[in-house]
């Protein structure tokens, strides 16, 4: 890219820095001399540690992004939001059930949703956050699961929500309930666990462990590949 040569100006919490164009916000901050402790994680868009808010000079828009995925723009004012104050609702997954009211019971604040769509606009994964909050209100658990699966819980929706909802917690509950109670345990898993417990594979495994290395290698090379 244009990283050699072209430079842009960014403001990290107001402080001005010249950094090479083409860097992500995270790398630009490191280039500017920050050793990151908070606001940094997997650096690959999977963990949600580097939630960031920014405005670009000349625009009124407050925008949201992941610092490890978003490339710096000239005139960007940046602040990281490495932590979202949000109480974790406690529940015993063995005791609760996927009833239509389960979300409203655990997260009554979802009834305050204004349908303003600010959460959706803030989502760096481009998820339809408002739609899944509305689905939770209706008790449509499958829809919540479908729309929220790619959530990395970065917290940006919760920070921006004027109704003070924490959408990703609602989604987490929905996915666990859906898997455990609606899909349930898989038969083939139960069957294989039982076979292992009965010792069905013990003798053959014992034999393999005792084979001299050359014999084991032969068994490996001659195994049939069926994929």
């Amino acid at each position: 890219m244009e990283k050699e040569g072209k430079m842009v100006t960014i403001y990290v919490m107001g402080k001005k820095h010249r950094v090479p164009a083409g860097l992500t916000i995270m790398k630009a901050m490191e280039y500017a001399g920050y050793q990151l402790r908070r606001g940094v994680g997997c650096r690959g868009g999977f963990c949600g540690a580097c939630a960031t808010l920014y405005r670009v000079k000349g625009s009124y828009k407050l925008q949201a992004a992941l610092a490890c995925q978003k490339v710096v723009e000239d005139g960007m004012y940046i602040v990281q939001i490495p932590f979202t104050p949000a109480e974790k609702k406690l529940y015993d997954i063995e005791k609760i059930r996927p009833t239509p009211n389960v979300f409203v019971e655990h997260f009554p604040e979802i009834t305050r949703c204004l349908s303003c769509n600010t959460c959706t606009k803030a989502c760096p994964q481009d998820l339809m956050v408002m739609d899944y909050v509305q689905a939770a209100l209706r008790g449509d658990i499958e829809k919540v699961v479908e729309l929220s699966f790619d959530c990395i819980a970065c917290g940006l929706c919760a920070i921006r929500c004027p109704a003070e909802i924490v959408p990703y917690q609602v989604a987490q509950l929905a996915r666990r309930l859906y898997s455990k109670y609606i899909l349930g345990l898989s038969e083939e898993v139960e069957k294989r666990v039982a076979e292992v417990e009965e010792g069905k594979f013990d003798e053959e495994l014992e034999q393999l462990k005792r084979l001299p290395p050359e014999e084991l290698r032969k068994r490996y090379e001659s195994r049939e590949i069926r994929v």
Binding site: M1, K3, P20, G22, L23, T24, K27, E30, Y31, G33, Y34, Q35, R37, R38, G41, C42, R43, G44, G45, F46, C47, A49, Q69, K70, V71, K88, L90, I93, Q125, V145, F149, D150, I152, A153, R175, R176, L177, Y178, S179, K180, L183, G184, L185, S186, E187, E188, V189, R192, V193, V196, F201, E204, L205, L208, K209, P213, Y220, R223, I225, V227
Partner: protein, 548 residues
């Protein structure tokens, strides 16, 4: 409109050739190599075999072991603290089980330990945030022999062969036998595995597997599993500390490990945690950038665990073998080194060279696949060079939708699709440029079936441990290892805590380590564990692979 808006113009000719050859490649596959061919290509092209990249370790129980310089450097370094810096008379936390690391292994250990002892006797410490780990970044899947034509026996064979028969067979046996039960545990906690339309679990092939054995959660497998375990961990209110690093273990007069010196990353204070059992679940060393390679790894993957273990005299193994994932992103520049999941190849994407030609079977074991890509770029000069001098080959992703039906990529590879879309590359229509990237620490701290290291009181589980994968890990077995051995570590560490007493904590092993360094004539200002990688200033712009 530009033909390929996400790629520089000099790549367009090659992109066109990939497009033009696509139809005739459908259904074709490059033959798998024989064992002899595999051994030859590894010797000639795999970075592990490169001359001058390693040196013998000069101190400790594994003296003489060949290690990459970057790993030898953190072991031949002064401990971060000296005994006079630390006041051991005041114990801040006195617990039964101390767990260091909150990825898949650490969280599993905590959950299971809480079923054996009072949760108030557990303390989990994490260098960054809870759940921050490589575990969370795993995309492609987790192996468990579930198919009707599959069995733990075949799983065992695949692992041993993939690991070049250097694995500890006892650990492999445990891994394959407990795999189905791990899936059962996950489902009972509410992990959402991909299903077929008939409701059965979806199984895909992986490199080096003889059956379809890969379970997945779209291409967010690690994220889905980790977030469920974390949610459960928080529900159970197990005590924890975030942004707190283990900087040195503690030992008592009998030589057993009795906890750890902790360092609070926010307040820069040292804290003392005494424990009857201590579990290392600290992950691997990708951020050491072995031989200058880019890495797929989490920011915190700085190899702290092997350093802490070696300081107390625990034995290590197989650390001469480093895993380079065959397909890291080589373009765009912003995401160079990031993982492009092996599941892409499992679902039909073919690696092709600059001319659009097949050159390797897409599902060779990882080390072989990586070596073949390096040879294509640097031996046969048939790779594509980026404006910053990176080389790579194409991974022809559009084949996935062609073979499996439109919509497959968006449905099964949401993460990959999203990542490249951010940079104007549509992986449904255009191939991606890839090159091997530093991915995994194959070896680690020696453990037995109970996850005990060679030093009493110290347990290890997950990537920090060694023996399960031998010299090369297959896809989907690291996720599996986290839960199989994380659970075991939690259980055995808790059981031990019920029967042992611990003495006064000391740092005598630090003095011994300093003596080893002195006696070996090692003069250095390096200190370890390094805790955080150094990327400030110009280092941000560095990436150069010392390949040749």
């Amino acid at each position: 409109m530009e033909e390929y808006p996400g790629y520089p113009e000099e790549m367009w000719d090659s992109l066109r050739m990939v497009e033009e050859t696509r139809d005739e490649r459908i259904g074709k596959t490059y033959p798998r190599m024989s064992e002899e061919e595999r051994e030859r290509i590894l010797r000639e092209w795999h970075p592990d075999y490169k001359e001058g990249a390693k040196r013998p370790l000069r101190i400790g129980p594994n003296k003489g072991m060949m290690l990459p310089h970057e790993v030898a450097d953190i072991l031949e370094a002064h401990p971060l603290i000296t005994p006079d810096m630390i006041d051991l008379s005041e114990i801040d936390y006195d617990v039964d089980v101390l767990i260091i690391g909150a990825g898949g292994a650490g969280l599993s250990a905590a959950l299971i330990a809480s079923e054996h002892i009072d949760k108030e006797g557990i303390l989990l410490v994490q260098k960054l945030r809870l759940g921050d780990s490589n575990s969370k970044m795993s995309q492609g899947g987790i192996q468990a022999a579930l198919g009707p034509d599959d069995s733990p026996v075949l799983h065992f064979l695949d692992i041993m062969g993939g690991g070049h028969f250097a694995n500890n067979p006892e650990l492999v046996e445990i891994l394959v036998k407990e795999a189905p039960d791990v899936i059962r545990w996950h489902q009972s906690l509410g992990v959402l595995y991909d299903r077929n339309p008939d409701g059965s679990i979806k199984l895909s092939p992986g490199g080096g597997t003889c059956r379809r054995r890969m379970l997945s959660c779209k291409d967010y497998t690690g994220l889905e599993i980790t977030r469920v375990l974390l949610d459960e961990f928080l529900n159970r209110e197990i005590p924890y500390l975030e942004f707190t690093c283990a900087v040195e273990l503690l030992t008592d007069d009998s030589g057993q490990v009795v906890g750890s010196v902790l360092y609070d990353l926010d307040s820069d204070e040292y804290l003392i945690a005494r424990a009857k059992s201590t579990i290392l679940a600290t992950g691997g060393y990708g951020r050491l950038h072995i031989q200058g390679f880019e890495t797929t790894n989490h920011y915190g993957a700085t190899g702290d665990g092997i350093v802490l273990a070696y300081h107390v005299g625990a034995e290590l193994r197989d650390l001469d073998a480093t895993q380079y994932h065959p397909t890291g992103a080589a373009w765009p520049e912003q995401i160079v080194g990031q993982l492009c999941t092996e599941k892409l190849r499992g679902r039909g994407a073919q690696p092709v060279n600059r001319l659009g030609e097949l050159f390797v079977n897409p599902l060779e074991p990882r080390d072989v696949e990586a070596a073949a890509i390096i040879r294509e770029c640097y031996g046969r000069e048939l790779g594509v060079t980026t404006p910053t001098g990176m080389r790579g080959v194409w991974l022809d992703t559009p084949l996935i939708d062609i073979i499996n039906g439109e919509g497959t990529i968006e449905r099964e590879f949401a993460a990959m699709y999203r990542t490249f879309k951010r940079f104007d590359i549509d992986i449904r229509k255009e191939p991606i440029l890839v090159f091997p990237t530093l991915h995994y620490q194959n070896g680690g701290v020696v453990i037995n079936a109970r996850c005990e290291t060679t030093v009493p009181g110290l347990y290890a589980a997950g990537e920090v441990s060694g023996g399960v994968h031998g010299k090369n890990r297959l896809m989907g077995n690291s996720q599996l290892e986290l839960y199989v051995f994380g659970r075991r570590a939690g259980r055995f560490a808790a059981e031990r805590a019920k029967r042992v007493t611990v003495g006064r904590p000391t740092l005598r092993h630090v003095e011994r380590y300093e003596r080893w360094l002195r006696e070996a004539g090692i003069e250095t200002d390096r200190r370890a564990p390094i805790l955080l990688p150094e990327y400030r200033g110009k280092k941000t712009l560095e990436h150069h692979i010392r390949l040749l």
